[in-house]
């Protein structure tokens, strides 16, 4: 069953990646990137258990925190940026 979960997660990662490439708006990309991060955490937990990676839970916890901070940072800076951001 774990192998099935890993394969499902790999497919999920690929699909999320496609959405991140397609856009179309910047918010779609932010959503896709955040969702990619969450699925990475799940991948570490499931894959780490299946393959016996050392102290995988610590790393998964840190990924979750970093993902949270990163997405908040993107939202914050985009909000700061957008009033004059459309000039090229």
């Amino acid at each position: 069953m774990i192998a099935a979960a890993i394969v499902a997660l790999l497919i999920t990662l690929a699909l999320t990646l496609i959405r991140a490439f397609m856009g179309p708006s910047i918010y779609d990309r932010i959503l896709a990137v955040n969702s990619f991060g969450t699925k990475t955490v799940l991948f570490i937990v499931v894959g780490g258990h299946a393959l016996g990676w050392f102290s995988y839970v610590d790393i998964a916890l840190m990924y979750a925190l970093v993902n949270f901070i990163g997405t908040l940072a993107v939202m914050r800076f985009f909000e700061q940026y957008s009033p004059h951001g459309e000039r090229s």
Partner: protein, 132 residues
Amino acid sequence: MIIIGWLSDVCLLLGGFLVLTGAVGLLRLPDFFTRLHAASVTETLGAVLLIIGIMLDTGLMLDTAKLILLICVMFIANPTITHGLCRAAAHGGIKPAMETKSPMQNSTPSDSKNIYENQIQTETGVSGKAPK
């Protein structure tokens, strides 16, 4: 013991299925808010199920506590991000594709298509295109 193994398998399968569904929704649904919905709702439940499945499989040890902490973090962080993103998008002028003219009257499909295309055009510097 065997029952716990079964339970873990069921959790893993269900979680994997939910996460996969969420990704398909993220790819296929027509506008930002529906995609947000698809990604966040299934992802939160799927993540928790997957982690519970792993927890049942490892048995009771120090990692279990950390995994519970991880569930807490994801359970709080994901909805928060969804909320913030939704709010930012609404402020940033993203409109739902199926916007109705009045609560009583549903818009025709061609109308909603137009609104959606307008929204795509206002976003500058984007190389992607709308999904069919």
